[in-house]
Symmetry: C2
Subunit: 250 residues, 2 copies
């Protein structure tokens, strides 16, 4: 009955517009009473986002299960993917809703409130994990916001393309960007490399990176003290190799 209500609602929203559709119209088309509608949805906005409560509960459970996870930043990135999965389950429906939400300010406000709840769930987890470190709540709030922004940037791109393309790959790329920026350690399967002696090099004006002669295993970075950190990091990042999709994006 829940699915029938959602289907009837979207048919009417598309035919006559969101504002012009009443709850009475929806229940009439679905062939049920008003009370049935309110059993499933607190208000008309609710039928537009029928799966967010379930998704938020899933995300919270996933975070609770990672209370001792070694990498909290990775955990919140993985948690964000719960939302992606919900959208990707039904691309046609997600794309329809995206266009509807863009047109109706009330739905946009509703969606912002939902996004805020996801962000607070992620931040709450990180605040607990960072509780003993310096600036714990600040770091938690900033990382949670960055994860949500990255996820939604990728999700919106996919929705704008009418659900074409690989949503998972797009979101992976965006989340890797955040993991790199906030210092998430690499995946445990990355093999440790054995060190080899470096060769002295002459310090240039800008930071320079050179592979040591006699091996690919060692990277030497020479930088002036006071050099901009961002420039040094850029060089180190590209020299260390790793995922080229993640490198150079910040």
């Amino acid at each position: 009955m829940r699915d029938a209500l959602v289907a009837a609602a979207f048919r009417l929203f598309l035919e006559r517009g969101y504002e012009q559709t009443t709850i009475d119209d929806i229940v009439a088309l679905a062939g049920v009473g008003r009370r049935s509608f309110f059993r499933y949805f607190p208000a008309k906005e609710g039928v537009v986002f029928p799966d967010h409560e379930r998704c938020l509960a899933e995300m919270t459970a996933f975070l609770d299960a990672g209370a001792r996870d070694a990498d909290p930043v990775r955990r919140v990135c993985d948690a964000a993917r719960t939302v992606l999965r919900m959208y990707a389950e039904n691309p046609a429906f997600s794309v329809q809703r995206y266009h509807l939400t863009k047109k109706v300010p009330g739905l946009r406000a509703y969606e912002l409130a939902v996004v805020w709840r996801y962000e607070r769930a992620l931040a709450g987890y990180l605040r607990t994990r960072f509780a003993d470190g310096p600036d714990g709540t600040l770091r938690a709030d900033v990382i949670a916001a960055a994860v949500v922004a990255a996820h939604n940037n990728a999700l919106r791109g996919w929705l704008r393309s009418d659900g074409e393309g690989d949503a998972n790959a797009t979101v992976d790329h965006a989340l890797r960007h955040v993991q790199t920026a906030f210092g998430s350690p690499p995946a445990p399967h990355e093999p440790p490399a054995s060190p080899a002696p470096p060769t002295p090099i002459t310090p240039p004006a800008a930071p320079a990176v050179a592979s040591a002669e006699g091996g690919q295993d060692v990277v030497v970075v020479v930088a002036r003290r006071g050099a901009p950190l961002w420039r040094v990091v850029q060089q180190v990042e590209s020299a260390l190799g790793g995922d080229p999709g993640a490198a150079g994006t910040w």
Copy 2:
């Protein structure tokens, strides 16, 4: 008359509650007609946040004026301070509103929509600045979200302390955190150091940083290829010096 309406509204909100106060009550206490209210505020929520439109216009003008600013990340951090200034202009009023907003879900939703507009203004500026680089919109959205989250983390801390303490210092610290994470170059007054030759050092298992003998000007970083970027960056960051308050917080 605008100020009189705001003062009357808040007196009533505090005395009898936000929901229980009508626009008619407000105009009666202020001694004006309903039309005057709507000349200044589109709805009852508007009187709770009377300065956001002005503040948003100020922020947008500040961003527009920085279309060629050398450091876009710093520019958006400075732009965010426009909001802080508005709150700090009248601490007692800001604290009152904070407590009111926490209690009224409708006001919370309204505030989220306002925050979203600030965030889009910052992201829009960064998107233009990053248009030619890789992942321009992703970087822009993530940094804008991080700036807003850092600013609001500090702002909320100050509001929770009833407006005691130095709001500027708290927000400065939070924004520095974002500037560090997203690779903002150092302040222009930092003197450039002249390079001196480095001394070869033996590569250890973990990345190592050493000042060159014969001078404090050069930093040599040796890292295994495949080493975690976050660990290398941590070392580079502390070796390059700079603000100890910003270092080591991510």
